[in-house]
Amino acid sequence: MTGASHYLSLAIWVPIAAGIIVLVAAGRDRDAATARWIALVGAIAGFLVTIPLFVQFDVTTSAMQFVEHREWIPRFEIFYAVGVDGISMPFVLLNSFMTVLVVWAGWEVITTRVAQYMAAFLIMSGLMNGVFAATDAILFYVFFEAMLIPMYLIIGVWGGPNRVYAALKFFLYTLLGSLLMLVALIYLYFTSQTFVIAEWYRVPLELTTQILLFVAFFLAFAVKVPMWPVHTWLPDAHVEAPTGGSVILAAITLKIGAYGFARFILPIVPDASRTLTGFVIALSLIAIVYIGFVALVQKDMKRLIAYSSISHMGFVTLGFFLFSPLGWEGALAQMVSHGFVSAALFLCVGVMYDRMHSRLISDYGGVVNTMPYFAAFMMLFAMANSGLPGTSGFVGEFLVILAAIKVNFWLGFAAGLTLILGAAYTLWMYKRVIYGAVANDRVAALKDLSRREFWLLAAVALAVLAMGLWPKPLIDVMQVSVTDMIAQVAKSKL
């Protein structure tokens, strides 16, 4: 255990403070350049303060580290309590890293209300760190909900033509789930007289109660993941969101749903989870296979990647509900990897969209002739998305399939279909967009990556390759926490 450290609080509040400073200091449109620089400095500072979390992380314990515990609302024994274990720490890092990229990605692209755009992302970044770090349920809930506000504005203000519909759909879908979760949280408080999440792991609950709680939590997190059939908000939100919004949505927001499964559902209602395993696995497999086919026929690149995200997140939920360390580690690795890969693909689409103002696959063709560097980067990310060994995409999928085969061969087989489907829809899209003859004059006039775009994609590419070739640091961080959590989940609470 590290003594009194404030790294987590810094990780939460530095970006939020930076966001407020951007708004106050450079709120007017003519200060756009200042706003960009303050935002970049804030985002980098936010990332730097999370580095000690990784460097000083003690991989031998599953206890919460870097804990802070302060009274907040004593009337209900609610604490400002934060801490990370091996399950949540990687996501704080991932989120802070992505924020830097997103600020950078919006550099020249966003020209209207720059300060508000940058501030929304910075504030959201802080709130999402809060979600991963909170160890008090109400603190978690406050961050979880507050996050919706900036995301709603990001989609609605800077999004595409159908942005209003998408923003509203996103907000109401996610709110429905989280409000039911609020009732569940209050019920658990009523049973246990505490809002400390770890205490709830030990509260005995009847099976009927567990199942009702499961339903409430499940709705909240399944909508966020999103699982089939409550996934329909995601393609709309992705298509209409600006590039940065898509990146954050895919890389971090979806992970919060999956994180909720690991932090709340499985350990708090383990018996209900076991009872309903078949149900969740069925939904996950439908997501993996059916949504994979849906992705195949998409005409819009962003929509295709959105469906691919749903399909990949199906792996995560599948991995969790296999109840084995292998499955969990696979699921978590898949979450981190998908964070990088989907973000990278959305950045790639953003690069093309900024030039052509179209996301339709049919408007492209032969891009490699005019943008060779870009084609090379996109090739790498497409491969990672199909789960090619050597890229980060492989690690998670492989571990989950392995865990699935141990449970049941056909389960593993069905999950393994993704390797074919993923390759099919990603590479087919890649072929149609990048290869072939130059499709039209506008493609012929394309310019290759600017220096900013080059380094942006290079940074993600590096992360994808590093994770694929040497996943050990990540697995090490998770191992002890995962093993202990599985032991927790294995205990009956009846």
Binding site: I73, V142, A167, L168, L172, L175, L179, L182, V183
Partner: protein, 482 residues
């Protein structure tokens, strides 16, 4: 029996004297010196608030006065101060609005003060008749205030509806009180309570009386099916008066419910809980659903009030110290949010322009990012999204309800609040996603701007640190023996 104790009603005395004084002074003031009456009113509010704070410091417990007709306890102290602050802010926000509509007159201030006096009597009443007198004083002043804008035909119509329905409700309340008097032989709140608890069974007459009393309270709160007057009055009255009707009287109505149901009739809790469940459910569902269809923001907020009172009742019907203090927290939080929402409408209004259509909020972020942000806070607070005060209001009410076993009721409440989020979000959408219809600059007095900004930011600050207000409500309830 306690004796007369003038000190315990010092705030009421201050307001009553000030109202009479301003009525006299105003007669001798030339037209351009009208702000003398305005500032005198504000001064009276300040003095009364100081007097109320005094009572706070002196008597933490309940103090009965005027032969048990009046009770001056912590609940009264907190609600009184909330009323003073609310009315004072209403006058600050409404100043330019009233001025532009030729309503910046002595009568407005005097009637407002009398309405306030009525609220104070309701807050401190410990006898059915005291409570009823307070209610009538409040209602009559509000009828007159609603009708003040003579050139607005809707205002007269609204006042008429308000008066007819309000008189009916008062009649019902009085009828119910008389039946309770018939069974218990007393009008004293404490004696009614002990009289009922001494019996083994509750006679039909008592329950019958209870039904009428609950109807009267529901009318004042605006709970479905006694909500018909709310949209018309909110819409028809000048916005400043709407603000008065929609804010502080909710505090008084809450006090009325508390004194009657929790103070006098706890012995029939099982019966009134069932009635309140129906009222609460209908209000939440109907209020939130009908609000969606509104194109006028005042009407929308009217239905939002109905829904919000449903949530408040959810906490109230959970009963016990936790339930009542949660309802009190909810009411106070709601009133402060309402203040900011109508304050914003008046900020956008100009001479000859009401600014009360939803479309008038279009593109506010382009016109003024700051005011758009304040309105955003107000809307998210009404929707109950953290980190705003509205979230804790819902949270504390839900907690009280779940603790008392009303889990399914809470689940329905949660679903209706999702429906509510839709129309609050629409305002945010209009402000942030759409293009403005006009680019008229937003001009307002400096004090209005400052207070309205403070009011809006307070929703955020109290949303991050809600402990103070929460423990104040809990403390008040415990000290007052509820």
């Amino acid at each position: 029996m306690s004796t007369i104790n003038y000190l315990s009603v010092l705030p009421e005395i201050v307001i009553a004297v000030a109202a009479c004084l301003i009525l006299m002074v105003d007669v001798f003031l030339p037209e351009h010196r009208r702000n003398v009456s305005y500032w005198l009113t504000q001064l009276a509010l300040l003095i009364a608030a100081c007097a109320a704070l005094q009572a706070f410091a002196r008597h933490p417990g309940a103090l009965k006065a005027f032969h048990n007709m009046i009770v001056s306890d912590m609940v009264a102290a907190v609600l009184r101060i909330a009323c003073f602050v609310t009315v004072s802010l209403m006058l600050f926000y409404g100043r330019s609005y009233l001025n532009a509509r030729n309503l910046f007159r002595g009568e407005t201030f005097v009637l407002t003060l009398f309405a306030l006096l009525g609220m104070q009597v309701m807050v401190t009443g410990n006898n059915f008749l005291t409570l009823y007198l307070g209610l009538e004083l409040l209602s009559l002043s509000l009828y007159a205030l609603t009708a003040m804008a003579k050139e607005r035909p809707q205002a007269a119509e609204a006042a008429m509806k308000y008066f007819v329905l309000g008189a009916l409700a008062s009649g019902m309340l009085l009828y119910g009180m008389s039946m309770i008097y018939g069974t218990t032989g007393t009008l004293d709140v404490d004696l009614v309570a002990s009289g009922i608890s001494a019996r083994h069974d509750n006679p039909m007459l008592l329950i019958f009386g209870l039904v009428f009393v609950v109807s009267g309270i529901a009318f004042k709160l605006g709970a479905v099916p006694y909500h018909m007057w709310i949209p018309d009055v909110y819409d028809g009255a000048p916005t400043a008066i709407t603000l008065l009707v929609g804010s502080a009287p909710k505090l008084a109505a809450f006090a009325l419910a508390l004194r009657l149901l929790a103070g006098a009739l706890p012995g029939t809790a099982i019966d009134w809980q069932q009635m309140l469940i129906v009222l609460s459910l209908l209000s939440m569902i109907l209020g939130n659903l009908i609000a969606i269809a509104q194109t006028n923001i005042k009407r929308m907020l009217a239905y939002s009030t109905i829904a919000n009172m449903g949530f408040m009742l959810l906490g109230f019907l959970a009963a016990g110290t936790d339930g009542f203090s949660s309802a009190m927290f909810y009411t106070i939080a709601y009133v402060f949010t309402t203040l900011a929402s109508f304050g914003m409408i008046m900020l956008l209004s100009r001479e000859g322009f009401e600014g009360d259509r939803l479309d008038d909020f279009k593109g506010l972020n382009k016109r003024s990012p700051w005011w758009a942000f304040i309105m955003l806070l107000v809307m998210f607070s009404l929707a109950g999204i953290p980190p705003t005060l509205g979230f804790y209001a819902k949270f504390i009410v839900f907690t009280a309800a779940v603790t008392e076993g009303f889990v399914w009721l809470t689940v329905i409440a949660v679903i209706t609040s999702l429906i509510g989020a839709f129309y609050y979000l629409r305002i945010v959408k209009l402000m942030y996603f759409d293009e403005p219809l006009s680019d008229a600059p937003i001009v307002a007095r400096a004090d209005t701007q400052l207070l309205l900004s403070g009011n809006g930011l307070l929703l955020l600050v109290l949303g991050i640190f809600p402990q103070g207000l929460m423990s104040l409500c809990a403390f008040a309830m415990t000290q007052s023996n509820y």
